[in-house]
Symmetry: C2
Subunit: 182 residues, 2 copies
């Protein structure tokens, strides 16, 4: 047991952004660490919605304290996407779920996966994200992922890491691999 456990818990707001691989993955790792510590974790996916990923199978195995909810309508290819209204409704729905979970104390860690993208694409208003950060219960850890994070969100967060792509296998023609990308 390290000495840090004697310090009063303070929930942090963490942001994983940038164009490199490892944002959602780091949020998942953090969720696993928290789950290991006996915390309840809720992951709300704002953009992804159509993949049956390894993390979803894992979450089912981890039980009721590790919940992933896919609220999004799948990948958005470009901002002129015809179906943006559907994406917007889904993202707003995810936002309401996040607020509800925080209000009800349903989790010790809430991950809003790809919410930065949702803001960037205009599916979620940045003010709503700042409201969530401001209204966070003191003990709750809040994790926001996705590229193109808004400056205002960086300003309100405790920790921000930019995942910068140095080298990516898709660039050299290697396809997505099971256990890595999905």
């Amino acid at each position: 047991m390290s000495e840090e456990t004697s310090v009063a818990a303070r929930g942090l707001t963490l942001v994983f952004t940038g164009n490199g691989k490892g944002k959602t993955t780091a949020a998942l790792g953090m969720a696993l660490r928290a789950w290991g510590q006996g915390m309840k974790v809720l992951i709300l996916q704002f953009i992804k919605g159509s993949w049956k990923c390894g993390e979803l199978i894992a979450a089912e195995k981890l039980g009721p304290n590790f919940v992933i909810r896919q609220m999004g309508e799948g990948f958005i290819r470009c901002s002129n996407d015809k179906g943006l209204d559907g994406h917007r409704a889904a993202a707003q729905n995810a936002l309401e779920e996040a607020k509800k979970a925080m209000r009800e104390g349903a989790a010790d860690m809430v991950v809003l996966d790809e919410i930065n993208c949702a803001v960037h694409y205009g599916l979620v208003d940045v003010e709503d994200v700042l409201d969530i950060i401001r209204s966070k219960p003191p003990g709750l850890h809040l994790v926001l992922t996705g590229r193109n994070v808004a400056n205002e969100v960086v300003g309100s967060a405790d920790l921000v890491t930019e995942m910068r792509e140095v080298k990516h296998p898709f660039a050299v023609g290697i396809p997505a691999q099971k256990g890595i990308e999905f």
Copy 2:
């Protein structure tokens, strides 16, 4: 099931480096995703050794397909550390464990946590890391974490992400938190 599963599996060599938070955490998330896909995961920690972290408790719960072995002698404060010989022996031992696991096909994903640091501090020779990458079985995913990755390792890897610190709570006096840092 996505169409990528029809493509022949090719194990990747992935590197998470940089000074920001999220390197080991992303490796953990990747390990969880792989475990969810039914893969066997082996995580060898090269530097850490003294913390009873959330991930260790989680690994115990996940069972025999998710193994974390702490091979290191704890944090190295500076490169003039009196106990560097002990650290070197521990890192060499971890290296042998990695080679053995790869030879015996003991895992589908091997994470060499903080191995980049171990090379940076002279505990492990960069040539030994390049040998491991070169002798990797084709289907195995190899993940190397730690700041100050050697250029030669970047050259041999398929994917490299630099976790860049934009903002960190320790810088503003907030201590390490349960479920986040440990």
